[in-house]
Symmetry: C2
């Protein structure tokens, strides 16, 4: 299997606010054609370190991809120090400069002289055109190793990679293909999932299986390698199906779809509609529902009833329920769901009321206490959960639990 390293260049990627995300997309593309990413580096405007990083990567790995640092300003050092690392000169290309001048003219501007730098290319490399920006890319083979130099902005580097780099890499990668499946599991912990899954996946020693906990769910990643893409897919599918069968209803997503996509698809299948009444999640469930294109087919409306008065007015929750049991109670959750369904005239309604924190908890109902209500053709019910985590996590997990509760009512295997 061919190995690759990815080098992201830019001082902004070494600040506390920014992380390199280009490499995630590139890793996915490389993995699909059976190329293994072994190392990622992020380097700022430090020529010596960049030069050393590129040189080491070219020695250790078959393929080296750099992103960023190709702009016209002083900080953009990729051209100079990558050329040094591979022991080549930078060569000026008049046609690139003329092309840049024309582009600036088309925008009604004069090309700043500083942009001339972008007309220099490493000797012996192929120029990769950039229809979406001013920096061209480069592709070269030096001493049997491949070097691809791409601009930083995703709208520039992704099309350039797809059009000019991917076909060349496919040709050298040969007949090794990796196909992945992602199962997502709710309502079970990491070790409980592994206990069920391990006896199954250990029978596939050539498939890479990893189990990860992610915010509110357990993910099972399956990656099968074969000499034909169809064969790799077949193996990945076979293992994924066995795992899904063993885990049953806890697998909410068999192909990596989000919970809101899964629930939305099911509602479309059933030709049914839903509404949502939210207190502590404050619109998060509605936002997740409507994040899915086409959700207007099944998601009709929602009420964000943060205040008690709104619960009564907008949902018809009897003030006596709130007075007797509190707004955070199974009784209130059920009244919210039932009220929402009656008012909206939908097939289903879900509701959430709880204590997201950091304040508002008490001994009886600590922070993280959440009641989820459901109302549908077969009646109204609710469930109490106590969620760990900070305000963000409690709200996220409550939204996930509510969508999952609805999913289970919709009778999904």
């Amino acid at each position: 299997m061919l190995t690759a390293e990815i080098i992201a260049i830019g001082s902004e990627l070494l600040t506390p606010e920014k992380t390199d995300t280009n490499s995630l997309w590139l890793t996915a593309r490389l993995n699909e054609i059976g190329i293994d990413v072994k190392l990622k580096t992020i380097v700022g405007d430090d020529g010596a370190r960049l030069e050393e990083t590129v040189r080491d990567a070219m020695r250790r790995s078959d393929i080296v991809i750099t992103t960023g640092g190709l702009g016209p300003t002083e900080d953009d050092i990729t051209r100079v120090f990558t050329a040094k690392a591979v022991g080549r000169e930078l060569v000026y290309h008049d046609d690139i400069e003329q092309h840049l001048r024309e582009r600036f003219k088309a925008w009604g501007r004069e090309m700043p002289e500083i942009n001339k730098r972008q007309a220099y290319v490493i000797d012996g490399s192929e120029i990769l055109p950039n229809p979406n920006g001013s920096a061209v890319g480069m592709f070269a083979e030096f001493d049997g190793k491949i070097l691809a130099i791409l601009p930083g902005p995703p709208r520039e580097n992704q099309p350039m990679f797809n059009e000019h780099v991917l076909p060349k890499l496919k040709a050298v990668a040969g007949e090794v293909y990796v196909r992945r499946r992602l199962l997502r599991v709710s309502g079970k912990g990491e070790s409980a999932v592994d206990e069920i899954a391990a006896p199954i996946y250990t029978a596939y020693p050539d498939v890479q299986t990893s189990i990860l906990f992610n915010k509110s769910e357990v993910e099972i990643h399956v990656a099968a390698t074969a000499e034909q893409p169809e064969q790799a897919q077949l193996i990945a599918d076979e293992l994924a199906e066995k795992l899904a069968e063993a885990l049953g209803n806890a697998v909410f997503s068999a192909h990596g779809e989000s919970m809101e996509e899964v629930v939305g698809k099911r509602l479309i299948e059933l030709g049914q509609t839903v509404a949502v009444a939210e207190s502590c999640t404050g619109g998060l469930i509605g936002s997740r529902f409507t994040d899915v294109p086409g959700s207007s087919a099944y998601f009709l409306e929602g009420a964000i009833t943060y205040s008690n008065e709104a619960k009564t007015r907008a949902l018809g929750v009897d003030p006596a329920i709130i007075a007797e049991h509190g707004a955070v109670s199974s009784e209130c959750a059920e009244a919210m769901a039932k009220g929402m369904r009656d008012i909206a005239g939908t097939d289903h309604a879900i509701s959430v009321t709880g204590i997201a924190g950091p304040d508002g908890g008490c001994d009886e109902k600590p922070v993280g206490t959440v009641f989820i209500g459901y109302s549908g053709p077969r009646g109204t019910k609710s469930v109490k959960i106590v969620l760990p985590g900070d305000r963000y996590l409690v709200r996220w997990r409550a939204s996930q639990a509510a969508l999952d509760y609805l999913r289970r009512q919709l009778g999904m295997a």
Copy 2:
């Protein structure tokens, strides 16, 4: 200024789904005490590459911090190959094993034999206790360079860094302090902001100023360095205040707060309340409002009126308005805001109706067309914007524009 490199270890960080986020937190802590992060590396279960990476980092930089790879399973290679990189043996510590056995016993479990590995420590390094997990950390000085080895989970490495590593680094970093300010700007592009800001910040050559575009806003990062923390803060504040004054009302956040925090604080100052009526944002604005702890003081309720029928029933929008102008219109946005305010009895209400895409656009109202409505003590009005981007970005930017529209009505400088 001392230099640092951060090495994140774990094959999961080389998958298309995961990126290293520990380094962001560590970078912030290091920057605060004047230590410059020069390079970040992510390496998987590849002993040779890890060994080389650690060796190179120890040669190039003053401080090397590794995170992850300290667990008990086969993949956890940090101990072995970091020891090789610094040319030291691993030494078994009976007291660590006994401590681990007791912890497992306290959880009612027998310690698996595999966990014995976690009792090995690089010779000559200090053991850093881990109250939150089973892997201890290490701290050492070899040949005048500092090496800190931390576990991967943030709940384990952050307390360990704060308690055991930070004080030691502070002692060696000496009297260099960096203090940052972050201004956030809405309603102006990157180059328009730079045109105003550049004449000001170029007068502070020792302050690092960078201007970044982020989703729906422009960020101005200011980092001042001085020998005293107060002095660094003073310089950062002086420049930030000058920039804020020049940019005026476009600066919505003078200390990096989010738009929803800024608006929330202002509503608390005024002792006023707000409600929101959302169509295309589907609950996102409510979710953002209620993401802020204590938001129940001013955010009372919201209506997610995705269907036309819900707009009429829940908000009292006259069906004739929708029939004549369409649901995506200034008339409908204003009727939604006015209806919401009247029903909820709040001081202010905002509304959003638009076309988030990918479908639903037409020549007259393309995807990205959004109307924002506002209703308050001085009347009702609306604004039309056309937002670029995919569904996710249109919705996010619409929510940001709506909150910003409210902010400007609240008379914020």
